[in-house]
Amino acid sequence: MKFSIQVNEGPYQHQAADSAYQFAKAAIAAGHEIFRVFFYHDGVNNATKLAVPPQDDRDIPKLWSELAKENDLDLVVCIAAAQRRGMMDVDEAKRQGFEDNNLKEGFRISGLGQLIEAGIESDRLVVFGA
């Protein structure tokens, strides 16, 4: 089956990001395809490249990035939510006149339409949030 996942919360603040990650991993292990993981609301903060969590704890942005790399996943960060919260890739930062950017490798920024498309194209869409 084709699954898509929506993540509504940022890393660490709420278990949603962890649950979504564990679900994605299990779905892949069971042979399903993950069509897209869409990060909305504070979920966009899962894409930060600047997180430095304690060494003895999980690095959530890194976990997502690695899962995406190993399984060719499409991790999409909503542009509207990202702009509000200051999550920028290189292009968006340039467009907005900022020198810095903070989007981790493995994620891409795109519009809300990607969430709707994920719903249309997938067999199941699961939302994780608060």
Binding site: M1, F3, N8, Q15, A16, S19, Q22, F23, K25, A26, A27, A29, A30, H32, D123, R124, L125, V126, V127, F128, G129, A130
Partner: protein
């Protein structure tokens, strides 16, 4: 096979569990995850509601029970699943309603 309803809030923190029960029709499943697993513990009114709900299946995410030290307090009539089981439940049901 009906909807899969997920509940991730403690029944003592919010009424989400009750609302989900109100929306769970015959043939559907309520899956307790994250802080929602507290509704699966013995000696609670939530456990009574689970016992009295007919036609609806109940499951709880084992890893979330273990994390909270609740394995020994699991109420009757609730199936323990891991993340693999969570994935299967999603696949088996028509659609998912995540009660946030």
């Amino acid at each position: 096979m009906g909807l899969l309803h997920t509940v991730n809030k403690s029944p003592f923190e919010s009424n989400t569990f009750d609302i989900a029960l109100g929306y769970a029709k015959e043939g559907s499943t309520v899956l307790l995850i994250e802080d929602g697993v507290y509704a699966a513990t013995t000696g609670t009114s939530a456990a009574d509601k689970i016992k009295n709900a007919s036609g609806v299946s109940f499951a709880v995410l084992g890893p979330d029970l273990q994390a909270r030290g609740l394995e020994g307090k699991l109420a009757d009539g609730i199936k323990v699943v891991d993340y693999d089981g969570f994935v299967s439940l999603v696949a088996e049901h028509d659609s998912v309603q995540s009660w946030l």
